[in-house]
């Protein structure tokens, strides 16, 4: 991983990344999406989570309709009378937070356990892998339902459920890769130098498992967002009065066949743009970061 020129690694990363135009566009779109999600709530026409601001009399209005108070619903309203523009902006924020937090937490937890397990080996590895099997055997919605019943509803419980149902996946994937890496020469060399264990694991083993890790981690942010939507579809998940993008789609789902397409179409588009741009950015980052791919 030697750096040939005097360029700092960060600058080098930027210039490598920018070689591909689609990746740059994706990054700009993602930046715009994140900006919308976090600044948007200050400028929308209503707070869709404040029940006093929405009216059932405005429900299911097509895009471009006038509201009772005189504003315009550019993307229409949902079945409770929420302005869809406002609802999408707020929903975007919740979806991104839930997706990123649970996705990243699950990967960090899973990858650490997987790598340690692979490196230590033996009985402990065995034990850890059986715990992993235990978690993998649980359908994620069962975990979510138990959380819902015991803890009540809320974004934090959804995050907990998503992390609990996904970390084991990463532990297993990373362990599979790490076991192969462990047998390679450079690991023998590292052990030969009598480096501290932690240094071997995180300094040598981890970077070499990084490529698949980044692929799965970024996919997982996207996956967490869609999984949260599926949980909403099954009737567990976030509180219905504070819908995420997934919940907006799930709520609009029953209207798909009825011609009121906008209820789930626009939130779907917002979700698609968000997730696709996350994935495109991550995809390029993987190419750039991968040590084997460097010129």
């Amino acid at each position: 991983m030697s750096v040939p020129s005097a360029q700092s690694p960060f600058k080098r990363f930027i210039s490598d990344y920018s070689e591909r135009k689609t990746a740059v566009v994706a990054f700009l779109v993602l930046a715009l999406v994140v900006l919308t999600a976090f600044i948007g709530p200050f400028v929308t026409m209503q707070d869709p989570y404040d029940l006093a601001q929405i009216s059932i009399l405005d429900s299911s209005m097509p895009p471009g309709s006038e509201s009772l108070e005189g504003g315009t619903f550019w993307l229409g309203t949902d079945d409770q009378g929420r302005d869809l523009v406002s609802a999408i902006v707020y929903g975007l924020r919740i979806s991104i937070i839930v997706g990123v937090v649970s996705g990243v937490l699950a990967v960090i937890l899973g990858a650490s356990i997987g790598i340690i397990s692979a490196y230590v080996g033996g009985r402990i590895d065995n034990l850890i892998m059986r715990v992993v099997d235990l978690f993998l055997g649980f359908p994620s919605f069962l975990i979510a339902l138990i959380c819902l019943a015991v803890l009540g509803r809320g974004a934090d419980k959804v995050v907990l459920a998503l992390v609990l149902s996904q970390w084991a996946n990463f532990a297993r994937i990373i362990r599979g890769v790490a076991i192969v890496e462990r047998e390679k020469e450079y690991m023998d060399a590292a052990r030969g130098l009598a480096l501290p264990k932690a240094r071997i694991v995180f300094g040598h083993l981890l970077p070499n498992c990084l490529a698949p890790l980044i692929v799965v981690a970024t996919m997982n942010v996207a996956f967490s967002i869609t999984l949260e939507a599926s949980l909403s579809f099954l009737g567990v998940g976030l509180p219905i009065t504070e819908p995420s993008l997934g919940l907006l789609i799930a709520n609009g789902y029953e209207y798909i066949l009825t011609g009121k397409y906008w209820l789930s179409f626009y939130p779907g588009v917002a979700l698609l743009i968000t997730v696709a741009s996350i994935n495109l950015v991550a995809d390029r980052m993987r190419d750039v970061l991968n040590p084997r791919m460097q010129k």
């Binding site: 689609t22 080996g121 065995n126 892998m129 059986r130 099997d133 235990l134 993998l136 055997g137 649980f138 359908p139 994620s140 919605f141 069962l142 339902l145 138990i146 019943a149 015991v150 996946n169 297993r172 994937i173 599979g176 890769v177 076991i179 192969v180 047998e183 490529a211 698949p212 692929v215 996919m219 996207a222 996956f223 869609t226 939507a229 599926s230 579809f233 099954l234 997934g246 789609i249 799930a250 789902y253 798909i256 066949l257 789930s264 779907g268 979700l271 698609l272 968000t274 997730v275 696709a276 994935n279 495109l280 995809d283 993987r286 190419d287 991968n290 084997r292 791919m293």
Partner: protein, 323 residues
């Protein structure tokens, strides 16, 4: 090898034991099935009688102990809702779910690996970039939404395929399967493809990234220098080297797909065990939930053992005993 399998089995039994307790405690914390099933006409006393009939008034540890005692006799309990042995309910629906899951995985593998190799070998071409971009789209839409869109397009607008349900079945080795009849295949196509989109995207991308990583490596250059044909290089040398992460993912996907089959089965009215488990969770039918988990864990462990065996075949450096 036999020793390895036996040890694996014993470990799995421990997992099942722990898990059954977790489920017991979890469902115990949520409530009991009586409250959601009993008719509003029932009096307080009738309700209590029903609860004690099912043994649900006893403390958690006592209920669990009874369960263990029954398990040692080979009984997993009787469904509260269907009044039939829970394991029987699961097993009669298992073939439908396995058929759907395997069909979805096959779809993903058969399409995903060639597409992935194609994209990996030509990462800068329009085709390669197109494949990778489309695979990203497949991650981005919720299964249920895509499922309904498919029904809307293929069944209602075009009228090509039946909307929902499982088609005609025939018996194969004592199991009802639908993929051997034309009607069965027509019913199977949409749900399998719907369920297969996610693993398809995953396999395509993993194959592409594996291919891309391996192309600049020495052995590939060597093979090329030796003048081997591209097809042979890919099918013998390249695939062998990129299959490990793919096999891992396919093994893992098995349980993910099994879980996600719940959503697909619900949209396409597919009579598998995913539908059963969602109903059972909604009604807190604990024996069925426990039996379902046991069956999925067993299925999953079998998949895992297969993955480990495939590992050792693909890469002799990985020895089974160490896993």
């Amino acid at each position: 090898m036999t020793l390895f399998l036996i040890r694996r089995l014993l470990q799995s039994l421990m997992v099942l034991l722990v898990m059954s307790f977790v489920v017991f405690a979890g469902v115990f914390a949520i409530g009991n099935p009586i409250d959601s099933l009993i008719s509003p006409e029932a009096t307080e006393r009738e309700r209590e009688e029903a609860i004690s009939d099912l043994g649900l008034d006893r403390p958690l540890y006592a209920q669990y102990f009874v369960f263990l005692k029954n398990v040692s006799k080979g009984e997993l309990g009787t469904s509260f809702v269907h009044n039939r042995p829970a394991i029987q309910l699961i097993l009669e629906r298992l073939p439908a779910t396995l058929e759907l899951t395997v069909a979805a995985l096959l779809f993903a593998i058969v399409l995903g690996i060639p597409l992935g190799v194609l994209a990996g070998l030509n990462p800068e071409s329009l085709v390669g970039r197109g494949i990778l971009s489309v695979s990203i789209l497949f991650f981005s839409l919720p299964t249920f939404w895509v499922g309904l869109m498919m029904i809307l397009l293929f069944s209602i607008t075009l009228g090509w395929l039946p909307t929902t349900g499982r088609g005609e079945t025939v018996e194969l080795l004592g199991i009802q399967v639908s993929f051997l009849t034309l009607d069965g295949l027509r019913h199977l196509a949409m749900p399998a493809i719907n369920l297969g989109f996610y693993p398809l995207a995953l396999i395509t991308r993993l194959t592409a990234s594996g291919t891309q990583e391996n192309v600049p490596l020495e052995y590939m250059k060597f093979a090329k220098a030796k003048g081997l044909r591209t097809r042979r290089i890919v099918s013998v040398h390249l695939l062998k080297n990129i299959l490990i992460p793919i096999v891992t993912v396919i093994g893992l996907q098995f349980s993910v797909i099994l879980a996600f089959a719940v959503v697909t089965e619900s949209i396409f009215a597919w009579p598998g065990m995913g539908r059963l488990i969602i109903d059972s969770i909604n009604l807190l039918d604990r024996p069925v939930i426990v039996a379902y988990l046991l069956v999925t864990v067993v299925v999953f462990l079998i998949a895992n053992v297969l993955v480990d065996i495939v590992y050792s075949i693909l890469d002799p450096r990985v020895r089974l005993g160490r896993m």
